[in-house]
């Protein structure tokens, strides 16, 4: 990556307090537990992991929706916790989020036009009604809702799931943001339309040079989106990134035992290949609690290859091949 990254995350920790009973001791869920991550300008970074691994919390914290417990997030070189008002507005305008559920992220009582135009007015991009109609129509055409006049005055219930997600995307790109955090954007979309939404996001990356933080639990979608966009896949486990590298490298040649286990378990739409796969067996199926995660490498309690030192020392991310990093004691210099 040339020059300064758009987003730099340094040793980020996000802990949520939980209390057992009214007088119980306060404990902390370590949702994000020491993450370093760069997102370059125009780059795609994909976070993947099982539920509870911290991928959504990390995404929301980068988007400014959750305050970190410690660590730093730099946006365009500025620490977001120390920004002055106008810098903070600039940051909030330039980071937009697309949520998983297009059914609940649109107000059911407002038209498509209203939903998007409020945004444009709020940020002073268009003012008069004719300007707003032109701009909203342009956005709808960009996201493939064609012809735009058929969609302008529709309510969410008159649209399909795929069309709603396109409206959400139109709203997210209306301010021409530098970073889009897309949290499971295709999970609730019909199977036959999913690639269409991913292609749309990839188009926008090419046209407007936006960066993406793409969050998913679906390895197929992660591979498609990240490989096509030339980005990186980061695998998370219990609040840490355990492996990060170019998409096809991570998918075809995973390094971390956890990534290997996950990939060996995913069924594929080819009966011969899927039935020949040999899933790697874990020592335990249960994910340890993020309140009291295991010592050393957090995966050691389940890892079929664990060594003595794995339970004692925390492995750091090391570059095993070009741009491909892994945090595991099985690799030299870990």
């Amino acid at each position: 990556m040339n020059g300064e990254p758009l987003v730099r995350v340094e040793n980020l920790k996000v802990y949520f307090p939980v209390r057992k009973g009214v007088f119980g001791k306060v404990q902390y869920v370590k949702a994000v537990d020491g993450v370093d991550l760069d997102i370059g300008k125009g780059q795609i970074v994909t976070l993947i992991g099982e539920s509870g691994c911290g991928k959504t919390t990390l995404g929301k914290t980068i988007a400014g929706l959750i305050k970190p417990t410690s660590g730093k997030i730099l946006f365009d070189g500025n620490d977001i916790s120390k920004m002055k008002k106008d810098e903070y507005l600039h940051y909030r305008k330039n980071v937009q989020i697309i949520h998983q559920d297009p059914y609940s992220s649109l107000n059911p009582t407002k038209t498509v036009f209203y939903t998007i135009s409020v945004f444009l007015k709020r940020w002073g991009i268009a003012h008069t009604r004719s300007q707003l109609i032109d701009k909203v129509s342009e956005l709808l055409e960009i996201v493939g809702l064609h012809p735009a006049e058929d969609f302008l005055f529709k309510y969410p219930h008159q649209l399909s799931g795929g069309q709603r997600q396109r409206v959400v995307i139109a709203r997210a790109i209306s301010l021409n943001p530098k970073l889009i955090v897309a949290d499971e954007p295709i999970t609730m979309i019909d199977v036959s339309l999913r690639i269409g939404i991913l292609d749309l996001l990839l188009d926008l990356q090419k046209k407007f040079g936006s960066s993406y933080l793409f969050i998913t639990h679906d390895f197929g979608a992660a591979r498609y989106f990240t490989a096509k966009g030339g980005g990186l896949i980061a695998v998370m486990y219990l609040g840490n990134i355990v492996e990060i590298g170019p998409a096809e490298k991570v998918i075809q040649n995973p390094l971390h035992p956890y990534t290997k286990v996950l990939l060996s378990a995913v069924p594929v739409p080819d009966p011969e290949v899927s039935r020949k796969k040999k899933p790697i067996k874990l020592k335990s199926l249960d994910i340890p609690s993020p309140i009291n995660p295991p010592s050393g490498c957090k995966f050691h309690t389940r890892c079929p290859y664990s060594l003595d030192r794995c339970s004692k020392d925390v492995p750091k991310l090391v570059e095993v091949e070009k741009n491909h990093w892994v945090a595991c004691w099985l690799y030299k210099g870990g």
Binding site: V191, S192, R194, L198, S274
Partner: protein, 328 residues
């Protein structure tokens, strides 16, 4: 080669409609399907394809606003559509059972798992608690659960994967011949999904139970089904053995569906979505319902409903491209 297949379920010309205000939604539209004894039949389709409605119709547990308007469902020769309550009581859960979609939350939070088994048995006239608990323990061992611990737990004490296994054990309590599973692995993480899929395969090998596995995820079907029925807009577009349908699909919708899945295998440049959207099922267009999105559509496809042709043994396709001998 002699054909030893026996049909345990025969669905003929089944149509199910939902009443919604003045509209009638044609959720299942003239569907015919044979389920062979002992097979795993995968039914795959997008939301709105009618796959869950079909399952509920087989069990006769459709919601109140749904009507079976036409057709028959023969289970071992008994027509489920015409069956009276007495007959249904003898069949449901005892001979056919279902794990409905999103059933993970269906367990009663204030009852121990043990009581779920006892109540289910009592509801079907089995008072012998010892028999019930022994059968439950045996099933739990098959499903890799510790019977002692799990039977004495409350639902909230179990993980998603454990609850799903408890539901499978509950559905199999009365030794049914057919088990219908509606999206059983959809809410589960990758590793739990793999574990459940492998367990179901093992269970199938050991008991030879007939399974109907409903999902939107074609990769799951590829992984475990013997045959697959591809549904679209309330119709079966193609049904055949899983290797043929995945390797050489006949129906243009099957072809497009296989390509629309972002997968770990294959060339990502060949994957693409299917343009267009599902037709309005309260007012479907004439002809083939996939025609508006089909790249191979001809004039006749937009005018007349295609015939449901057996183009190979047990392989049916509903498409004008393969209807040479038919009257056009």
């Amino acid at each position: 080669m002699a054909d030893n297949t026996q049909n345990i379920i025969e669905i003929k010309n089944l149509s199910v409609q939902y009443r919604a205000g003045k509209k009638r939604i044609k959720a299942v539209n003239n569907v015919s399907l044979e389920i062979h004894r002992g097979e795993i039949m995968g039914i795959v389709g997008e939301s709105g394809s009618g796959k869950s409605t079909l399952a509920l119709a087989i069990m006769r547990i459709l919601p109140k606003n749904a009507d079976i308007v036409n057709g028959s469902i023969l289970f071992n020769g008994i027509d489920m559509v015409k069956a009276d309550d007495e007959t249904l009581r003898e069949i449901l859960w005892k001979r056919i059972s279902i794990i409905p979609q999103a059933a993970l939350n269906a367990l009663n939070p204030i009852l121990k798992i043990k009581d779920h088994f006892l109540e289910t048995a009592k509801a079907h006239g089995i008072e012998d608690e010892k028999w019930t608990l022994e059968r439950a323990s045996k099933l739990m061992k098959l499903l890799n659960l510790e019977p002692e611990r799990v039977l004495n737990s409350y639902p909230h004490e179990l993980s998603g994967g454990m609850k799903q296994r408890v539901l499978i054990a509950l559905a199999m309590l009365l030794e049914p011949e057919v088990l219908i599973l509606d999206e059983p692995t959809t809410a589960l993480d990758v590793l739990t999904q793999r574990f459940i899929l492998d367990l179901l395969k093992e269970l199938h090998e050991k008991t030879n139970i007939t399974m109907i596995f409903i999902t939107h995820d074609i990769a799951v079907i590829a992984d475990l089904a013997d045959r697959v029925a591809v549904m679209y807009a309330g119709k079966i577009m193609e049904v055949g053995d899983v290797f043929t349908v995945f390797k050489e699909p006949f129906h243009p919708y099957s072809v497009a569906l296989m390509k629309s899945i972002p997968s770990l295998v294959g060339d990502i440049n060949e994957m693409k979505s299917i343009p267009g959207t599902l037709p309005d099922l309260s007012n479907p267009p004439p002809g083939c319902l996939f025609a508006p999105r089909c790249t191979k559509a001809m004039d006749i496809c937009r005018e007349k409903e295609p015939p449901y042709l057996e183009i190979k043994k047990h392989h049916f396709v509903s498409c004008w491209l393969y209807s040479r001998g038919e009257k056009r």
